[in-house]
């Protein structure tokens, strides 16, 4: 079992000078490191599907940086493209030609894209999409779905998050995913008031199992949005390029008006993109928006290379196979030890739950067993496979999962069936 002396020592220093020590989704609090003793805090280096923490422990990483790692860490070709651009320029007083090339590539790649613009984070583009929907329609209200995560602007959060005001969410209507009756009712209640509907392609919330869209869901939402003049925003920040390079709206058989990309666009380089239909181009142009680093050239060069490679190798097809292998390894290990493991969501973004474990106590024991044995997973968030995973990695994952399930069985004889 791994130990994390250097990680802990760094964290002790961090809490003195950094709020929460490590804030956000990669920290022990928001990242739900349960039990915390199982997890490393700081990374030293990464390559392919692995990272090594500051104590020198190697992990097969099924979080993949929460999505950005799609081709494998430190991918030589993506890094070479970035390096080549770095030698020319990065953040200068003008954008580079890479910006035009990347926009052309996205328009060519993404089914619903007639144009593309670039920011840094997912939140930047989901927020820009929301403002653009309001600018385009002159309406106020935004419909979103329960459990849908779109980033950290107050309107994306909920009352109860410190600092979020009722006024911030006044015009946000949150309804259950896959619930067309409620959706219709909301449209009837607020005629000509709804500017946009924002949703992830499927319900990949934290904590609970993922839900795929019901067969008619997207088709109906699309039809109703078109009928009512509502901008349909696909938040493809997490799924983008993992299900289909043409966009996850295409994958599920509909066409979004605006689509947000971020995580898998540049294999870890900092860039996000908002794409959309020609009809919305002038509205988006009218929105005042910019950022110090948004037009930097290096991440754009990396994105061009990443997307080009994903086309060449058919990234989504590979991810599906890797996802199948991961699910099989985990489910076999579980059933070999008398447990039933469910994998929900799309295979490239699997969410693990155990049967008869509705409060996740056993899942948390599983992560507590697997992480210090070198397989980095989470009990509260969907995982992400990447193209660099090998069959040996899945074999090792099976062994580690099996050993961890055996521990659980020993600790809980009452659960052995």
């Amino acid at each position: 079992m791994y130990i994390y002396e250097k990680s802990k020592a760094l964290f002790d220093r961090a809490v003195k000078v950094i709020p929460a020590g490590i804030y956000g989704h990669m920290g022990p609090a928001n990242g739900c490191f349960i039990p915390v003793s199982a997890y490393p805090f700081y990374v030293e280096r990464a390559e392919g599907p692995y990272f090594w923490d500051v104590d020198g422990n190697r992990f097969i990483d099924f979080l993949s940086a929460y999505g950005p790692n799609i081709l494998g860490y430190n991918h030589p070709e993506v890094d070479a493209a970035a390096k080549e651009q770095m030698e020319l320029c990065n953040c200068v007083s003008l954008p580079s030609a890479r910006m035009v090339e990347l926009a052309e590539l996205l328009v060519d790649t993404v089914d619903s894209a007639d144009w593309a613009m670039f920011c840094k984070n997912g939140t930047d583009v989901t927020n820009l999409a929301m403002i653009s929907a309001r600018a385009a329609t002159g309406r106020k209200k935004i419909v979103k779905f329960v459990g849908g995560y779109h980033g950290v602007m107050p309107w994306m959060l909920d009352i109860g998050y410190p600092g979020v005001l009722f006024e911030d969410v006044d015009n946000i209507i949150t309804i259950p995913f896959n619930d067309l009756d409620t959706f219709r009712r909301v449209l009837d209640t607020y005629p000509n008031e709804i500017a946009g509907v924002i949703s992830t392609p499927y319900d990949h919330r934290a904590i609970d199992a993922s839900q795929l869209p019901l067969p008619d869901f997207w088709k109906t939402v699309r039809e109703l949005c078109t009928k009512e003049g509502i901008v349909l925003i696909c938040d493809d920040v997490r799924c983008g390029f993992r299900l289909d390079l043409r966009g996850s709206d295409y994958y599920y058989g509909f066409k979004a008006d605006l689509i947000c990309f971020c995580k898998s666009i540049a294999n870890g380089y900092s860039i996000s993109a908002l794409c959309g239909s020609a009809a919305l181009k002038s509205a988006v142009s009218s929105v005042f928006t910019t950022g110090s680093y948004w037009l930097s050239a290096v991440p754009m060069a990396a994105a061009i290379k990443c997307i080009t490679l994903l086309h060449e190798i058919d990234g989504p097809a590979i991810l599906k196979i890797k996802g199948e292998k991961f699910a099989r390894a985990m489910q076999t290990a579980a059933s070999d030890c008398g447990f039933k493991l469910n994998v929900s969501g799309e295979l490239s973004m699997p969410f693990l739950t155990l049967e008869d474990d509705d409060s996740s106590f056993i899942m948390q024991e599983l992560t507590g067993g697997m992480v210090p044995r070198g397989v980095f997973i989470s009990s509260h968030h969907n995982l992400f496979v990447n193209c660099a995973l090998t069959d040996e990695d899945f074999e090792e994952t099976y062994n580690v999962a099996r050993a961890s399930f055996e521990d659980i069985r020993r600790n809980h004889p009452e659960m052995y069936r």
Partner: protein
Amino acid sequence: MMNEKAKAACNIHAVLRNMENLCELDVTSKELIAASNVAIQFSVPEIDKLVLAFRQGACKAMRGDGLSYDMNLRFSSHEHLNLMIEGKKNPIPTKGLRHIPFLKKTFTALADRLSYYLQPDPERLKNDKSYRDASTKMLAYTAFYAIPEIARYDEVGIHIARQIDDGIINIVVGDEFAIQLHSKQGVLETSKGRNPNARALMLFDSMETASGILNGTLDSFGCIGTGALAFRGRITMIDNLNKLLGLVPNYLG
């Protein structure tokens, strides 16, 4: 944002309720009431009544209507009760006037003892373990008994409480003591002790950690990193509980 009604409910059902713990944990208080035999009812408009029964050297706190009592203290408004807690106004006894000497003498002395523990002296916390332990217990009871009131009367609290799944959260402090919070359709209720059927756990590894976090001298995020404060089970329940805990200082400053 603070509202007087939520504050009054916290003052009654979290702060005053602590008399029960005080009389158990503090020898001086126990002695003060050794010979007392009186039940006092606190009546505040629109808020459940509280009866504190001082009998046989112990105090028992009870909540609700129709409880028997010897003396009724009426408060004309939420502000009235809140000002009484700050020592700026007196209650209006409407029944059992013969117990006024108890109120003036014993109860006032008990209130001072309560402040001694609920507004602890930092130096004494460091040097006197039994003081620290008693104070920490009372602070924890106050905070976690305030939670259901905030969930009932604070507009943000109401919203948060609605999102808490039905079930039980155990709050456990080392091997020392535990509190359980029951949630049912947005209505919360606190009681003492650990429940074997909890869906979520909040674990403080020691009295020292609990004391540091409750007194604001330890960073709770740092404690999560070291494992001194740990969570298990249904994390959305814990997340929402933490959001409610974040509102407590608005009412029990």
